[in-house]
């Protein structure tokens, strides 16, 4: 299990123009929890010629299998979620104004003034904000409740929109030097990584890839996907916050950064939903050390990934979460480093290539 893997071009997947183009398509798509259709279509298009079997289950999860070769193959499940946080139209008012609610965890304070895209036709609108000259100082100290905000689409576009339609921030994908700026890096980065891993699936394992739904509203899709797959082990691939900017008081260390950009894939020891299986942590950290792939341990604390439900399915599944760090998660625009994305892909591919029945033949221990 600990022999060094030879890395040569074509064996380990890399990030190039095709991968950027795919991530752009994925992050620009609208797929809020509950209506993941647009991303599901992109995923199905990408994998239909590679996977040995593809199903879309009752909740809309895409379940793709790539069988390996040889005996006693370990069944490895990977999970990344297709859904993003966003909004839902709840009531139509006159003149193209719409009341809306949030879907998933969004800080209310981030909403006024944001450009949004509504519905499957991506109709452009704006969450209205009062011009500053018409506000009072006291008013500016308080946050505005989401119930008082309105999405303004104007009267004509407004006719095409109804309660129940979904909306997202209007941010578009951009490459900025070593970084990517986009919405929904959580978890389109994971979706992109899983597509690459399917395309370069190592032959020592059966790869069971779940593109899940409704993670942001309670890890719902992953539970049924794991029940169906009934895997031997699972890794959730997500994106996690990097709150790594220096403190205002520079003499005080930032000790609550969660993860840092440029420090590589973030392996989870423990989050709010899962205590990672030490056998899998050991596999990844040993592979990283041997292959000089940077990594970091995500600070234990609140938050959860699809692993939170997967590990408790049926009689239990040894599970781990690995994430690409990104700043400004669950806001209109996030920043991630291309190198962190590439190193996450590299680490996962290399580690998967070294999975054998020996890994889980020992009891769970440090």
């Amino acid at each position: 299990m600990t022999k060094k893997l030879e890395i040569s071009a074509g064996k380990v997947p890399e990030i190039g123009p095709d991968q950027f183009a795919l991530l752009e398509k994925l992050t620009n798509a609208t797929a809020v929890s509950g209506d993941e259709h647009e991303v599901r279509q992109i995923v199905l298009e990408e994998i239909k010629l590679i996977a040995d079997d593809v199903k879309v289950d009752a909740m809309g999860n895409v379940l793709a299998t790539k069988f390996g070769r040889g005996e006693n193959r370990v069944r490895v499940m990977l999970a990344s979620h297709m859904d993003e946080i966003g909004f839902m139209i709840v009531k139509k008012h006159d003149d193209g104004l719409f009341e809306f609610e949030r879907v998933g965890g969004i800080d209310e304070r981030q909403l006024p003034g944001k450009a949004v895209l509504v519905g499957r036709d991506h109709l452009p609108g704006v969450i209205g904000a009062k011009p500053i000259h018409m506000t009072t100082r006291d008013e500016r100290k308080k946050k505005i409740e989401v119930g008082s905000l309105r999405i303004d689409l104007g009267p004509e576009a407004g006719d095409q929109v109804k309660p129940g339609d979904w909306a997202t921030f209007a941010t578009r994908f951009e490459i900025l030097g070593p970084s990517i700026r986009a919405k929904a890096l959580d978890d389109r980065l994971g979706v992109a990584i899983l597509i690459e891993l399917l395309k370069h699936a190592p032959e020592n394992i059966d790869l069971l890839v779940a593109f899940t739904v409704q993670e942001e509203v309670g890890l719902r899709g992953a539970r049924v996907a794991a029940y169906r797959f009934d895997p031997d082990m699972a890794i959730a691939v997500d994106s996690t916050p990097a709150n790594d900017l220096p403190n205002w008081d520079r003499d005080v260390e930032n000790s609550r950064y969660n993860t840092r950009l440029d420090a590589g894939p973030a392996i989870y020891a423990m989050d709010g939903a899962t205590i990672g299986d030490q056998r899998l942590i050991r596999l990844l950290t040993e592979v990283a050390a041997e292959n000089e792939i940077p990594y970091q341990i995500r600070q234990p604390g609140p938050g959860g990934t699809d692993a939170g439900v997967i590990h408790k399915v049926r009689a239990g599944v040894p599970s781990l979460s690995v994430s690409v760090p990104s700043r400004y998660a669950h806001s209109a625009a996030g920043i991630a480093r291309i190198d962190d994305w590439a190193n996450t892909l590299r680490l996962l591919h290399t580690a998967l290539s070294q999975v054998s029945p020996d890994l889980l033949a020992v009891e769970r221990r440090d």
Binding site: E253, Q278, I297, H311, R314, G316, P318, R365
Partner: protein, 332 residues
């Protein structure tokens, strides 16, 4: 039995990191079980008995994990910041001592202590005697539990992690004493109870029992100005749980448990707990549902480093458990 309890409570093993306590449990069971296995989340399952006429497949669950702390950050001066594993009261940590799974020892204190207010978890830090991040023997992700010795006060016993190692000891002792039974009994020493009944959830799915009993500690109402107010008291016998905040025990099972206790002349008390959760819930909600109950050991100062139980309650819990498991379980 006190030496078994001492061995178990003094073994480190917070939720998710139960490998040492699992070894201690396995060693204590020896060859008293027909079969032992360890499942995907690390729970140890010891089987005893073959199903005979009138018998059932029974799950008994006592959790092996204890509450603890995990390192979130080591600062440049070597002080260690932590987050909680399970329900840790910061107030009970200040001035305490911890033992990390890698053997490192330290003191917990709190920064930002304001007079008249209680610290939060984020105020806590551990001092392991390091002077810098580089010479600190622990890193992000490492875990520790309280370090306190077991104390035998005669009628009472005090230790950290009586929750739930005293119940694990009771289960082991019952397994040893069980002579004949019509039931196939799966003694589950579950993991990760303190973070949400996770080990029992998956173990129950694997065992697929027809009836289940959790074994855990419960609060007692016999200390000054005790909250919540409860009748449960140390020395009044094992408590038969009617409900806690996570599940309502099957009333048929509760009635049957009371009958068995009375038939065998074992003292018991009834327990109504308005807080808390136990593996009983995980068993009850498994697959298509399982009738579940719980034997509780009354305990003072739960989730502090000094949990206190009554020696006679412990012995009577073993007797009650053996009695229950030796009989055909009739629910109707």
């Amino acid at each position: 039995m006190k030496s078994l309890i001492q061995k178990l409570v003094e073994t480190p093993g917070p939720s998710g990191f139960e490998y040492e306590i699992r070894d201690a449990v396995r060693e204590a069971i020896g060859d008293a079980a027909d079969e032992i296995r360890v499942d995907a989340l690390g729970s140890l399952i010891a089987v005893k008995g073959k199903k005979a006429a009138g018998g059932k497949r029974v799950m008994v669950s006592a959790h092996m994990d204890e509450i603890g702390l995990m390192v979130t950050h080591v600062d440049k001066n070597g002080f260690v910041r932590v987050t909680n594993i399970g329900g840790v009261y910061p107030m009970t940590c200040v001035g305490g001592r911890v033992l990390f799974m890698n053997g490192t020892r330290g003191v917990i204190y709190a920064s930002d202590l304001k007079p008249g207010s209680q610290p939060k978890i984020s105020d806590l830090y551990v001092d392991v005697g390091a002077t810098s991040k580089e010479d600190c023997p622990v890193k992000v992700g490492d875990v520790c539990g309280f370090e306190r010795p077991f104390q035998d006060l005669g009628k009472r016993m005090v230790a950290k992690s009586m929750d739930d190692r005293v119940a694990a000891a009771i289960a082991i002792e019952a397994l040893r004493r069980l002579e004949s039974t019509p039931n196939e009994i799966h003694f589950v020493f579950s993991t990760q109870e303190e973070v949400g009944l996770r080990g029992a959830t998956t173990a129950a799915y694997g065992v697929d029992p027809e009836v289940g009993f959790a074994l855990d500690v419960t609060l007692s109402g016999d200390t000054p100005k005790a909250m919540p107010r409860m009748e449960t008291a140390l020395g009044d016998g094992p408590a038969i749980k009617v409900r806690d905040a996570s599940f309502i025990a099957d009333p048929r099972l509760v009635d049957w448990m009371v009958k068995q206790a009375e038939a065998a002349g074992i003292p018991y008390q009834m327990e109504v707990l308005t807080a808390g959760g136990t593996d009983g819930r995980a068993i009850q909600m498994t697959r298509a549902g399982v009738p579940a109950g719980c034997i509780s050991i009354p305990c003072r100062y739960i989730h502090s480093p000094s949990e206190m139980v009554d020696t006679d309650d412990v012995e009577n819990s073993v007797k009650l458990l053996v009695k229950l498991l030796s009989e055909p379980i009739e629910l109707d």
